[in-house]
Amino acid sequence: MNLIRLVAAAAMLALISGCATQQGGVGSEPAPVEERAATGVETNAGAQAGGASAAGGYTSADLDNPASLLSQRVIYFAFDSNDISPDAAAVLEAHSRYLAAHPEVRVSVEGHTDERGSQEYNLALGERRAEAVKRVLLLNGALANQIQSVSFGEEKPAMEGSNEAAWSQNRRAELVYQR
């Protein structure tokens, strides 16, 4: 299921970025085809994406495009964990490319937890999550001065409720672009 979604997303990405020709300054970053391949996406989708990369990259319009990876700005975590899943890594790579291509863009990474356990521990865990996301963004070419990380711990749940459905929505990091 995830793989299918990823393939679809990558194909969409390829089409979209193929149309976007205005952006420069992406020469030094890895081509999307390599990124895609690393996450196990079929090569034909990857090839299309690769073709698109030369033409440029993401634009701010992609943030509002449901078909773009940039429209995914919430990263979810397992209980008591700050590990970035492969799916989330793919999304973050897209954000890194966008940030790297647009050094003027600023993003805030907000770390959150579910309500279980100590509030003060959760504040620290939220920071871990925000920092983990920040690290992936930096590794993929974003600059430190573009990213601010902040933790809200369990204080700002996305969904109310004391059940796994709510908890899984609340264990998250949100990318908030300042625009």
Binding site: E120, Y121, L123, E127, K156, S162
Partner: protein
């Protein structure tokens, strides 16, 4: 609610109704009783006689006393409906009647309105088996001091019978979250130890966390997100100055959280992640000087001082899961204190330094447990599954905690295990902190 007699329920509802007329800012909306006490002392608090034909005062003092004594877990007040008579003076008491009811002690009294709106209140504490008087006192108070007087008398009764000082005339701080016009709001609430008379010390559109009392009860420290992230503030609890002279004391890069006042009132222990990882520091509030207490790659947080001010007890996940440790306040090697269970957090230390309360995770979820630091014996006190943030009463006999994750607070007694919700304001309450005496 199940085990309670209708009269007691009525008394509580009456208490709730009375307090609804009290304060405009933040009103109690719920009082319920679920706890059962074991081996509690049976006592009868007879409703105080109102002298003459005057209207009863706005505060039911005998009801306040009854509620306090029950909450302590050490007493089991009988229902007023079970009382065969309602004496107000020693010479009116038929002791055999009360012995037949199995009551050890009897509280009686009267209240008389005076010119100018004050009241004269007299009470007696009697030993039913000896047929003797243990206490008799008369007070003159203003109408808005009646509730304080109820707490004072509760303390006197508690001490006369148990030999230990009471903790009823104390306060709690907690944070409440509610929606106003569709937007989340947060308030730092100051209330009586039974939850009544709530007042907001701070109202914010952003979260507030971890309120902590200074040892002299004059200052509070807390975490506020009003600056967009966690920063530590202090403010006086009682001040007529407007705006309230608040002070932002820690706004380093990263987390600024979990403040805890040193017994000397001049320093705060707190958690900072300015060097990339949450560690415990001590901040001198006069000089701004910062001393690092722990230095570990794991999460260290939730510091509390031992009463002698020499050590700091904190939570760390350095052994994998969250466990509780002790470290010299000047820094040094940390000693692990908890070994039962894979998750122990939110440490609180009793005023005598002998008991460690914590959130203890079992298959039933997060429950409040207390460990005797000498014997290492751990006792689970609450039901879970989402209990949090225990804080000791200043006499060490009770804890206030966040119950069940539903935004409600409760007190639980260390002995007798009375487990009772606090009267709460609107919204979801968390992070309770019981005041020093």
């Amino acid at each position: 609610m199940l085990k309670q007699s209708p009269t007691r329920l009525f008394a509580l509802l009456l208490l709730a109704a009375l307090t609804l007329t009290g304060r405009a800012a933040a009103q109690p909306i719920t009082i319920e009783i679920t706890g059962a006490s074991e081996a509690a002392i049976p006592i009868a608090v007879v409703p105080f006689r109102v002298a003459g034909n005057s209207a009863p005062p706005s505060q039911d003092v005998a009801g306040i006393i009854t509620n306090n004594l029950r909450r302590s877990g050490q007493f089991e007040p009988i229902a007023t409906s079970d009382m065969l008579s309602r004496p107000s003076r020693l010479d009116e008491v038929q002791f055999p009647q009360w012995r037949a009811l199995g009551v050890d002690n009897l509280v009686i009294g009267s209240i008389q309105p005076l010119a100018g709106g004050d009241y004269q209140l007299r009470f007696e504490l009697l030993d039913v088996y000896k047929g003797s008087r243990l206490l008799e006192k008369t007070y003159r108070v203003s109408a808005n001091s009646l509730r304080d007087l109820g707490h004072n008398i509760s303390d006197l009764i508690y001490q006369a019978i148990t030999g230990q000082p009471g903790a009823f005339n104390t306060k709690v701080l907690y944070v409440t979250e509610f929606k106003e016009a569709g937007k989340r709001k947060y308030q730092l609430i100051h209330a009586d130890a039974d939850g009544e008379r709530p007042q907001a010390l701070l109202t914010s559109n952003e979260p507030i966390m971890s309120p902590a009392w200074s040892a002299n009860r004059q200052q509070v420290a807390y975490v506020s997100f009003e600056g967009g992230r966690a920063e530590v503030w202090t403010q006086p609890v009682y001040t007529a100055q407007r705006p309230v002279p608040r002070r932002k004391v820690a706004a380093f890069p990263g987390l600024n959280s979990a403040p805890a006042w040193a017994p000397d009132g001049r320093r705060l222990a707190l958690t900072l992640s300015k060097d990339g990882n949450p560690d415990i520091y001590v901040l001198d509030l006069d000089t701004g000087r910062l001393t690092q207490v722990t230095r570990h790659w794991s999460i260290d947080t939730s510091p509390v001082w031992t009463p002698d001010g020499r050590s700091i007890i904190f939570m760390s996940e350095r052994a994998g899961g969250a466990q509780i440790y002790r470290v010299p306040a000047s820094g040094g090697e940390a000693q692990r204190l908890t070994f039962t269970g894979r998750y122990n957090a939110d440490p609180a230390i009793s005023p005598d330094g002998k008991q460690l309360a914590m959130v203890h995770r079992t298959e039933r979820g997060d429950q409040i447990a207390v460990m005797d630091l000498e014997t290492q014996q751990l006792r689970v006190l609450t039901q879970g599954p989402l209990d949090g943030g225990p804080s000791f009463a200043p006499n060490g006999s009770m804890l206030v905690y966040g119950r069940g994750g539903g935004g409600r607070l409760a007190t639980v007694s260390l002995y007798g295990r009375a487990d009772q919700p606090l009267a709460l304001t609107h919204g979801a309450a968390r992070s309770p902190a019981w005041s020093p005496r």
